[in-house]
Symmetry: C2
Subunit: 477 residues, 2 copies
């Protein structure tokens, strides 16, 4: 690493995917300079501790299930060691040199350290103060929130990072939470052999999803042997033996969890995983130095921070609390970079490229459980709440292509339609590999297409995607 300059055109605090993209787009095809300040690994939570390792742990289980349900193919598994090694490959053994090289290739300087705002266009890092000529971008993301349960912190619970970076599979795991992280972690821990129990405070998993999707994921987990205790939460946690064993690893004895709620009692486990929400990573970011309150950083559709004069401060990714998904953070970052570039060059912000329009009500998301859940746009409930006159069509995915795909194919699909305009507002698909079915719905929702238009978009036979035809036919009645 070279000694950082005192001035850059663009300074990004946080080197995850959103920060990387913002820096890249802000200086592309120009002579502007940029620095990314990162205190951990360039590539961020997603690359090393979240999306990549979790999907690397999940994918072999999916492939095995597909192979086991195909007559003529003999499949065994999982070889846990091989799965963990493949996971290690995807997180590059926590070496970010390829990402640093990417930054260098794109003329972005990487500065190691904790960055914090120190006033207008000023950023402190490692005892030095840097000045940004055009823009400072906040991209620090979030961190796991640990609920205030007696004994929980002292028990050194696993957070999502520990679950994705496990080196041995614990025999017994209790997961606290019922959201995406909790459901995915339950899926891979179970597929790798752990006995898993979920403590879910509410009455359902995946509160933001369509009810049928919640039910199918709960059924899938239950069928895999994961008890889900709905309406339950930890009242207290006890773990007498906890010892650091170096390199951030912890050796702990069994954990006892007192459960309160619908099914009170006591659970014992070898690890407790807390997946009970996220908190903004802004505590030491110096927000007060520019007059901002603590917490998430609010932005407009140009990703410009509200309440700060001069159009120099931006926030992209999870830290702005618009939507906590890597691909949407990157989307915001592309828009943000374009906005910074245009403003730096005194170009008007003309055209749709300069506004993040898709991260409110047109957000795609895939939950890599078994079955997978893929959704975009509004659920029926959200559409009604937003005031739309809503019609829905919902049916099992049962077409030639799904039958051919695997003998145990089970899926379900739903569309949410604005009856006034005939326009598709949202879609949810559940089933094996439906994550790859989602983009068709995303294109339709983002473009605001009517079902009359979609009638002429013919799915190829015999693919799984022919369920689109069934949905349109069912809607027609």
């Amino acid at each position: 690493m070279t000694t950082p300059a005192a001035e850059y055109d663009v300074i990004v605090i946080g080197g995850g995917p959103a920060g990387e993209n913002a820096a890249d787009y802000a200086i592309a095809n120009s002579t502007r300079t940029a620095a990314i300040i990162e205190q951990e690994l360039v590539g961020g939570e997603c690359s090393y501790w979240a999306c990549m390792p979790s999907k690397a742990l999940l994918r072999p289980g999916h492939v095995l299930a597909a192979a086991k349900n195909m007559p003529g193919v003999t499949a065994h598994g999982l070889d846990v060691e091989a799965v963990l090694r493949r996971r290690d490959g995807f997180v590059h053994d926590h070496d970010d040199s390829s990402q640093v090289e990417w930054a260098r290739d794109n003329r972005i300087e990487v500065i190691r350290g904790r960055g914090r705002l120190a006033g207008e266009r000023l950023v402190e890092v490692g005892g030095r103060t840097l000045r940004a000529r055009h823009a400072v971008v906040l991209a620090t993301g979030t961190r796991a929130a640990i609920p205030d349960v007696p004994g929980l912190r002292a028990a050194r619970p696993w957070i999502s990072r520990d679950a994705t970076n496990l080196h041995e599979v614990p025999a017994r795991v209790v997961i606290v939470g019922g959201g995406v992280v909790a459901c995915e972690a339950a899926t891979w821990l179970r597929s790798l052999g752990a006995e898993v129990t979920m403590l879910v405070r509410g009455p359902a998993l995946l509160a933001a999803s369509e009810p049928f999707a919640r039910d199918r994921v709960a059924e899938g987990l239950t069928a895999a042997g994961v008890p889900i205790l709905f309406g339950c939460e930890p009242a207290a946690v006890h773990r007498p033996e906890v010892a650091d064993t170096g390199e951030g690893r912890v050796h702990g004895g069994p954990v006892t969890i007192e459960v309160r709620g619908a099914k009170p009692g006591t659970l014992e486990a070898d690890e407790i995983v807390v997946a009970a929400g996220r908190a903004p990573a802004t505590e030491e970011l110096g927000l007060d130095s520019v007059g901002l309150p603590p917490g998430y950083v609010e932005v407009d559709d140009q990703l410009t921070v509200r309440g700060v004069e001069g159009d120099w401060l931006y926030a992209v990714g999870d830290v702005n609390h618009r939507v906590a998904l890597t691909h949407m953070g990157k989307y915001q970052a592309r828009v943000c970079g374009d906005v910074i570039a245009a403003r730096a060059e005194d170009r008007p912000l003309d055209g749709p490229r300069f506004a993040a329009s898709a991260d409110h009500a047109k957000v795609p998301q895939v939950i890599f459980t078994d079955p997978e859940v893929a959704s975009v746009g509004l659920t029926a409930a959200a559409a009604r709440k937003a005031g739309y006159p809503v019609d829905t069509v919902e049916l099992d995915i049962a077409v030639a292509g799904s039958a051919l795909a695997r003998d145990d194919y089970a899926g379900r699909a739903a569309l949410v339609i604005d009856t006034a305009s005939d326009i598709l507002l949202g879609a949810t698909f559940v089933g094996p590999d439906v994550g790859e079915q989602l983009h068709a719905a995303t294109v339709a929702v983002v473009a605001g297409l009517s079902l009359e238009t979609l009638w002429h978009a013919v799915p190829a036979y015999p693919t799984v995607s022919e369920f689109w035809l069934r949905l349109l036919e069912a809607r027609r009645g």
Copy 2:
């Protein structure tokens, strides 16, 4: 089966998927009556001899390849007997009773026999003459064309039907042809253990596809051990021993094929498969009785036959020669049925629903080779020929999602763009399971979306579909 009535509102000749859909849509939500005349099996070529059995034979090989390339999963195969049994299940052991039941449930009468036109609104079948009050729909499809090669017919070559319905895997197979049927048959025959050689008259496989797709399929077949003799065709075929063994099966000794062209010589095989194009199944259809010439039946966008007065004669599916794909035949049939219903009820043909608009330049197709090829709309060459100012963007599919999907993932994707309007004209994807990626492109092409709009359709991370983002970024430059 009941004795057919003398009159129906709608008479459909040919009970394949297109015929079934035309009848269904023409009488839905009405008291109209319909009959389908079928000389073989209701469900047609696609259900028993083409799409379904071929994909049933191909799918296990795909699943095995995916499993073999996933560390942690141990997979063996293929068990040929199990694969053939699964195929038998998909063709219902050539029993069409479930399709006949579907027809009955939808108030469509099934008449067994060979139907032929006998004048205006008249159809002969089994020695009786039926009258159609509103419409006659021709949906007889095509049959395999056998080239005029000395000794070929006498050698009782396999056509696609035989290859999909094989009971034993021949040790050595020569395939004549380089189109979709030939490439798919080569793929499954090889995966089931046959030694396969392809004789391809032209310089490439899959003449209508993008050049990179042709190359990748040729590379895949070659890597699987299939020699492809380009610029070659059979000059003569010899097979001394041929005997019928009943139930349509043939026992034949070895076949000798004299090859002419780029690599002249002699090949010996246990079966020769002819996949050298199709011919319209209209020879005995009585086209002359209504003043039509022999051959394919030309229709307008309402699927109404050109050159026949009175808007009573329609043709859907392969027989009209617009596009020979099951899903597009069904699409035409839906439009046709809607047109028949509207005309029968004296409603105007208002709106896009009453015109087949997607079966010219917006046709999706999946070729289930290894790698798969999925395409929609115009190739770059076709777009230029049609007079568009064309730009293309083409790159390898190499995103987090593809790396996660399988260790050997190799794919490529291309977009064809009208530079004047920024609108997507076509797309081609090559790689494992890209058939399920296609519908997003189909939606975009059919809706005529611009790349500026697609910029806001964000693929979910980390799915394979994120290659869309790479394409859009590459296009932006």
